[in-house]
């Protein structure tokens, strides 16, 4: 019997090698099809794995694969081991499913680019590492994937490496992630210290008995792991790299910086939820970080005018929802939102890509408008995605966001403030996303006549994936319907990985009221956007004029980047130059044992005398040393 895990994992790698060997010669089309076929194959294998899991009784849903012993040393061992359980099954389906669609889409989007073969190689490599991340059966294999996706993200952000800003952004992403990784690694060392292993099954199985609930060490581990997650999943304080990451090609933004890689932190926390349950403090921190991030990012998204930046901040904000869900203990809701978000956010990015593609690279929304007529499929699918993200019944986002808001209110870790944050965020979400839709597809067209004449809908290879994702944005939430017994298939499926469903305290009436409120919020937001950007064009600008300082503060993203630059980056640069020029060359070199200064003298002398001098110096030293030794040894008697 074929090993499905190996198949899921190695098909993308196979695609990569085929392209590495033949892609350069056989050209763009070949490379695109090979890469897409590899990911599609991986998707089929992931489906196979899913079906295999379903066929097993719930508590036995676990497939394992150990390739070899990776780091075996006395008393500590890490395997190159993988496992497929319900949680990783959902992740593999999302990664390969959305991934395959984005691969197909890329064939159209990247058509004609010089580096397209390299692009597909990177993309396959990314999918491979992402699958390693979610399939690893221990923290270290997860970390391999974790760093690997970071590397691919670096390579793909800087894909157009001729652009200075793209390279800056790539480096920024990598270094900010490294700061998160720094904490993550220390967290791992603490886990090794406590458990002596990094194996998920052992660590999570033994955690409740080994760690004291609420102990400092439990909190330390969780906070460190979570700090790693804030890097990868772009949460406060490490979120600033994600908006800049939009320098990469748009399908990359869709795949890496919306649907998959940035959710790695959410996945990791969900995977280690047993540890987090042991630390109420850490849970609280997680929830607060999520809530604040979702508010801050949503507010920035309200005023950005670059279409991709709006979506980038929207992504940060939606990731904030997932983190909030984790913090209030609603792990399956977090993964649910992760999945639906992958559908509609990938769709939004690809729709934006379709717009950018047809406008020859224009990303400024103020220069767009009225594109509805020329780009009907793009406009239609994007609107569906916008309705989904805004949380309109019965689209996907409605169910997942509702699940999070409900838990934020009712969970033992939750509270009214968390709900309020989520609700306020939902209002802003609806406003910014429909601002984007209205400014791009409706109203007066601000393009030059010349560009207007050349407007065209994207080719089928790009619009078909859009339509597929639109279908998923509509129906993707129907697997997690609350209230009706047995209709929350999603939560039921994940239960073996994420603990039992929080059954029991679902009060039907209360839940219906909550759903009504969140739907009302979404509709209100859409109405506000309609009033400000359609009915009364310039309505938004009027508010900006009324509170200019607030507007500038938000427009400049609360000056967080500038603060980082001023407080950390510039000082480090200054210190390193200082250390080198003044300290290393000036002080250490000339004063350590006085030797350095001596050397300079000798050097000057030697330039005149050439060799010979060194020899005599060496002999002098040896003689001196021998004298000391003789003295010492005679003293010993």
């Amino acid at each position: 019997m074929m090993n499905l895990i190996a198949l899921i994992l190695f098909l993308p790698l196979a695609g990569l090698f085929v392209n590495l060997l033949f892609g350069w010669k056989l050209g763009e089309k070949f490379a695109g099809w090979v890469a897409s076929a590899a990911i599609s194959g991986a998707f089929l294998a992931a489906m196979g794995g899913f079906v295999r899991l379903i066929g097993l009784p719930p508590e036995a849903r676990l497939l394992r694969l150990v390739l070899f012993e990776w780091i075996p040393i006395g008393g500590f061992q890490v395997n190159a081991g993988f496992m497929l359980d319900p949680l990783s099954s959902v992740m593999t389906l999302v990664i390969t499913g959305v991934g395959a669609l984005i691969h197909f889409y890329s064939m159209g989007y990247m058509h004609g680019d010089r580096g397209v073969v390299r692009y597909f190689i990177y993309l396959n490599l990314f999918v491979f590492f992402m699958l390693t991340l979610v399939l690893g059966d221990n923290f270290l294999v997860l970390f391999v994937g974790w760093e690997g996706v970071g590397l691919c993200s670096y390579l793909l952000i800087g894909f157009w490496f001729g652009r200075e800003s793209a390279c800056e952004a790539g480096k920024k992403a990598f270094v900010f992630n490294r700061v998160g990784d720094f904490c993550f690694l220390i967290g791992l060392f603490l886990i090794i210290g406590v458990f002596g292993t990094l194996d998920f099954a052992e660590v999570l199985g033994r955690a409740p008995t080994t760690l004291v609930a609420g102990s400092g060490i439990a909190t330390a581990i969780c906070l460190l792991l979570f700090a790693g997650a804030t890097g990868k999943s772009a949460q406060i304080p490490l979120y600033v790299w994600l908006p800049d990451a939009m320098e990469g090609p748009t399908p990359v933004s869709a795949l890496i910086h919306a649907a998959t890689m940035v959710t790695a932190g959410v996945y990791m926390v969900a995977r280690a939820y047993v540890l987090f349950e042991l630390s109420p403090v850490a849970m609280n921190v997680v929830a607060i970080v999520g809530a604040v991030t979702l508010l801050v990012a949503a507010s920035i998204a309200l005023v950005q005018t670059d279409i991709k930046r709006v979506l980038a901040y929207s992504t940060v904000s939606q990731l904030g929802y997932m983190v909030l869900a984790l913090g209030v203990g609603a792990y399956s809701a977090a993964i649910f939102h992760l999945m639906t978000h992958a559908f509609f956010k990938a769709l939004l990015f690809m729709g934006a890509g379709s717009v950018i593609h047809s406008l020859d690279g224009e990303q400024e929304m103020n220069k767009m408008g009225g594109l509805n007529a020329a780009l009907p499929v793009t406009s239609m699918t994007c609107t569906i995605a916008a309705l989904a993200i805004a949380g309109v019944f019965p689209l996907a986002g409605f169910f997942s966001k509702d699940a999070i808001l409900y838990s934020a209110m009712t969970s033992e870790h939750g509270g009214v403030l968390f709900w309020l944050a989520g609700a306020a965020g939902a209002l802003m979400t609806a406003i910014y996303i429909f601002r984007l839709i209205f400014k791009t597809f409706h109203g007066k067209c601000n393009l030059t006549m010349e560009t207007q004449a050349r407007l065209h809908e994207s080719p089928r290879v790009m619009t078909l994936p859009l339509q597929a994702l639109a279908g998923l944005s509509i129906a993707g939430g129907w697997v997690g319907i609350p209230l009706i017994p047995g209709a929350d298939i999603f939560g039921g499926f994940l239960a073996p990985s994420l603990g039992g469903l929080a059954e029991g305290h679902h009060e039907a009436l209360f839940e219906v009221i909550m759903m009504a409120i969140s739907l009302a919020i979404a509709l209100l937001g859409i109405y506000i956007a309609y009033k400000l950007f359609v009915r009364n064009v310039g309505g938004g600008a009027a508010y900006a004029e009324r509170w200019p300082r607030l507007y500038r503060l938000v427009l400049n993203k609360y000056y967080v980047d500038e603060a980082y630059d001023y407080m950390i980056i510039q000082p480090v640069k200054r210190i390193s130059t200082r250390l080198w020029k003044d300290f290393d060359d000036g002080f250490v070199d000339s004063s350590v044992g006085g030797v350095g200064g001596f050397v300079r003298l000798i050097g000057a002398a030697a330039r005149q005398l050439q060799t010979g001098y060194v020899k005599s110096y060496a002999i002098t030293m040896l003689v001196g040393a021998l004298a000391v030794i003789l003295y010492l040894t005679s003293g010993m008697k």
Binding site: F68, W70, I71, P72, I73, G74, G75, F76, F143, V144, E147, G148, L151, Y154, G158, F161, G162, C167, G170, K171, F174, V175, R178, V179, D181, F182, L185, I186, F189, L190, I192, G193, V194, I217, V572, K573, S576, T577, L579, W580, D584, V588, D589, V592, G593, V595, G596, V599, G603, A606, R607, V614, Y617, M621, L622, A625, I629, L632, T633, M636
Partner: protein, 526 residues
């Protein structure tokens, strides 16, 4: 003698390059440079082939010495010709033989002046380095340790860059100063053994191992300091590192590769081979001091690397940082730390050696090493860029490549010793990513706007060929380090045990003492 087939393998491996050097010196016409290059390459390759049994026939279960050869040399003062390898040294010997091939082959076009003498120096260098790693007699070790100084001095001083004389003399004096102090330490051990140990005159390490722990702490501390200066200059540890950037920048490519790949390892190897097992109490006592210097080295080296404008100098300072990691692992004094340190010695030899080779390749074409002279190379030289990228990622410890496994083990070890040390050391990882990526960005990304760079040619077949084994090793150790770890594990275990025996005694003593004074409950952070 329990060497393979009664064949003095280690002696042959060690002295074959010397023989080669003599033959070149005596029988080769200095004009026939092609023949000299071919012969030198052949010697290096044969030497490597001869060293393969050290990998295949090595008994991984055995902690003690293997391939032993022992004859008396100067019996009146107890000097013996005693060579052998164990898990501590076997991989270093192999790394040396591989590096020698690379060092010879990479010089074919880089060196055009006094070639005969050049290859003689390289081959002499090989004998010195190999001898240092296989010598079990501490006097013999010292002789080889010193022998390496001379050819390296000439390599830098004759075939080096503009400030070669200054750099060569600085290198020579620093190292000589250190090794003279080390000689004091060696002699002290020798006489102490005469008085308190076996009562015989011997430099044999296996006999000295027994007397080490018996030396009173007051004297051990002094011997420790003598060895410390000797090895710390070689490593180099902060603040003895300033000779390194000068030596690296001025040395020809092969010189830098050998310097980084092998010569620096003599220092770290010295700590593991001599200091830890011979001076266990002092090693324990100096842990905080050593850890502090290591951490300073890690962070300081990385920060100063960030400010560099010359690629080669940047790589040199990154060495200071990486060797700080090695020392951190070694002085964690536990299995994971020392094992990680040992593996990282190999890793650093591979990755940093490769980086120097890459710098050399581009220097040969452009005659500049200033970072600002480059930019946008990724477009012009894709193969070179790819190899550079992989090497860079290996150097910053990306999982899946060799650097990660070593750093990871070191940090586990350091963490066990103290989480404060480990936490500081991890900062080095963040900074490492920063300076390397910044370097890569400035050299390879951006626009190819310098017309000089537009004529740059990509790696030729010879260059790819000598880079390839290093790249393969990066992946091999990163993905499947088991064969490497297995070879070192038993011997490292032995060293760790030796350095901790004394501590165990001390602990029980002080525990008794504490119990008498006041019953202090043992605290455990976990």
């Amino acid at each position: 003698m329990d060497n393979v087939m009664g064949f003095p393998l280690l002696t042959v491996i060690t002295f074959l390059p010397l023989l080669g050097a003599v033959i070149v010196m005596l029988f080769f016409d200095r004009e026939k440079t092609g023949a000299i290059k071919g012969f030198a390459t052949a010697v290096a390759v044969v030497d490597f082939i001869l060293s393969i049994p050290l990998w295949t026939k090595f008994d991984t279960a055995k902690a003690g010495f293997q391939f032993v050869e022992k004859v008396s040399w100067i019996p009146t003062i107890g000097v013996g010709y005693h060579v052998a390898v164990d898990g501590i040294s076997v991989l270093l010997v192999l790394l040396t033989t591989i590096t020698m091939i690379v060092g010879v082959v990479c010089s074919f076009t880089a060196i055009t002046d006094r070639e005969k003498e050049y290859y003689v120096c390289l081959l002499l260098m090989a004998t010195g380095m190999l001898g240092t790693f296989v010598a079990i007699d501490i006097f013999l070790f010292y002789v080889f340790f010193e022998i390496t100084l001379v050819p390296m001095y000439f390599l830098i001083g004759i075939w080096g860059g503009p400030r070669k004389l200054y750099a060569a003399i600085k290198f020579f004096l620093y190292t000589l100063f250190g090794s003279v102090l080390m000689l004091l330490g060696i002699l002290a051990l020798y006489f102490v053994n005469l008085k308190m140990g076996t009562g015989t005159l011997t430099f044999d390490l296996q006999q000295l191992y027994a007397v080490g722990p018996k030396i009173p702490m007051s004297l051990q501390a002094w011997i420790f300091l003598a060895f410390f200066i000797g090895f710390a200059i070689k490593v180099p540890m902060f603040p003895f590192h300033t000779w390194l950037p000068d030596a690296h920048v001025e040395a020809p490519t092969a010189g830098s590769v050998i310097l980084a790949g092998i010569l620096l390892k003599m220092g770290t190897y010295g700590f593991v081979r001599f200091v830890l097992p011979l001076l266990p109490q002092a090693s324990q006592a100096f842990v905080p001091f050593m850890m502090l210097l290591s951490i300073i080295g890690i962070i300081y080296g990385a920060l100063v690397a960030m400010a560099q404008t010359d690629v080669k100098k940047l790589v040199a300072y990154s060495s200071v940082s990486h060797l700080g990691f090695v020392m951190l692992g070694v002085f964690a004094l536990n299995q994971q730390g020392v094992l990680g340190g040992q593996l990282q010695m190999i890793n650093h030899g591979i990755s940093t050696g490769a980086l120097f080779l890459l710098v050399g390749i581009v220097y040969e074409r452009r005659h500049t090493r200033m970072i600002s002279d480059f930019g946008g190379l990724a477009k012009q030289v894709p193969v070179y860029s790819t190899i550079f990228a992989i090497t860079m990622l290996s150097s910053i410890g990306l999982p899946g490549l060799n650097g990660f496994v070593g750093e990871f083990l070191i940090l586990i070890g350091a963490f066990k010793a103290s989480y404060v040390y480990a936490a500081f050391a991890v900062i080095g990882i963040v900074l490492g990513a920063a300076y390397m990526l910044w370097l890569f960005q400035r050299m390879f990304f951006g626009n190819l706007d310098n017309p000089e760079n537009q004529r740059l040619t990509d790696c030729n077949r010879r260059e790819v060929l000598y880079m390839l084994p290093l790249v393969v090793l990066m992946f091999w150790i990163g993905l499947y380090p088991r064969p490497f770890l297995a070879r070192m594990e038993a011997s490292v275990g032995k060293v760790v045990k030796m350095v901790n025996v004394a501590k165990a005694e001390q602990d029980t003593k002080s525990a008794h003492l504490k119990k008498k004074l006041r019953p202090a409950p043992k605290r455990n952070i976990f």
